[in-house]
Subunit: 236 residues, 2 copies
Amino acid sequence: MTGDETTAAPRARTGRPRAGGRRSDGDPRDEIVAVASRLFAERGVGGTTMSEIARRSGLRQSSVYYYFRDKEAILGEIVASVNRVILDHLERVNADGGTAALRLYRLIRFDARQMCRFPFDINEIYRLSALQDERFAGFWSERQELNEAVAALVAEGVAEGQLAETDPRLTALVLLSNDEGTQNWQRPVGAFRQEGGEHYDADQIATFVADLAMRALLRDRGRLAAIRRRALELDP
Amino acid sequence: MTGDETTAAPRARTGRPRAGGRRSDGDPRDEIVAVASRLFAERGVGGTTMSEIARRSGLRQSSVYYYFRDKEAILGEIVASVNRVILDHLERVNADGGTAALRLYRLIRFDARQMCRFPFDINEIYRLSALQDERFAGFWSERQELNEAVAALVAEGVAEGQLAETDPRLTALVLLSNDEGTQNWQRPVGAFRQEGGEHYDADQIATFVADLAMRALLRDRGRLAAIRRRALELDP
DNA sequence: ACGACTTTCGACACGGTGTCGAAACTCTCT
DNA sequence: AGAGAGTTTCGACACCGTGTCGAAAGTCGT
């Protein structure tokens, strides 16, 4: 949103005026993305039509193709930052320091909570983006980066003697799919919810998932309570 | 397949003959299901058209609607027995007896291995079936039955003193989504495969997932090796 | 031979995707 | 002031996939 819109009348827009006289409140691209985000959350990507996105954006169906090549291009825009959030948290966690076990706990708990709160079906996104590797290359390389970071933390914890012997690569895969699995029990909106998660909030679920992971991994499980306490201080 | 096909010429089929002279080798319903299974595994349900199912079944596109109301009806037929397999194993495991921890290990390991080998994307199936609750009610009630059975095993193990204190309901959810997560690392066919799982076979992954689960849950992790050994004897 | 039944097909309506060319404006230059 | 370029939007359309409908083309029984 530029300054124009909040004070004087918005400056004239070039281009053909819209039918029905409705003007965009801002950049049509941003509005399309916002509208599509809500629809993807409610109905999934497959259940959302370009016509509906256009209609709710105040455009005709064909106009959307002026800004986006296709529906997957809109999706790409929306999910471009998904992994960035958890990778930024990883950097923060590593910058804060602490044992590998503490940092791992913080990361897992953060990721699980984010997945609980994530409005989109991550599995649908995985599958759609897997079908178009080139266009979602960034998404996958970031996801791989996260996997490797978790595996590295696990390996570090084992080397420190705080974590018991384990295969770091498989462990990372399991931990991250634990987090993703939470989407099937609790999500802000969406058609599908498996019974069971609705009695808990995102924090409870995330803390539980992180606890269970550390119970599996810690050589001395007596240390879990202290790790949890410290993590909750650092990431309320 | 009836006896007719293997000896004498197949008995005349009523109804309009197929274009191109090709005859069905058996029940057209069964052939449609078989063809659709392969296509759903390769391309996902969403990526499979009724035209392609018809074509590979030797029919015209509209003929498929004579046997199935729509694509989801075919899917329903295919997945009708998915949960039955793991529920049957649960019955077998309970009939065999043994501690709750042993039975839990066997169940988790079996489910994870089944998920590795399952050609379809379980998450796509979840989402498609969630959108049509009435038609997939059986699927969901069986899934819920499995959840409750796992929760009950966990509760029993805690009561026996073999498993450490935990929330049985959340634990069941985590364990089963561990199993499902394996689909993203290894599956017989399918477009999507997250890097990491390809170096392991289904047995290795399943045993690892079961091990990690028990490491989290067992009060005395020293018992894990004996449980694993016993489980591998019972379920090679 | 005829009618009932079954299985299959062709034609079609409808909805969704995506393209194309033009409408309807703004802006700049002469 | 007018012309041309550019931008944004729209209408029309081709194509594809779903799903329906009525008829074709058989078999079977009376």
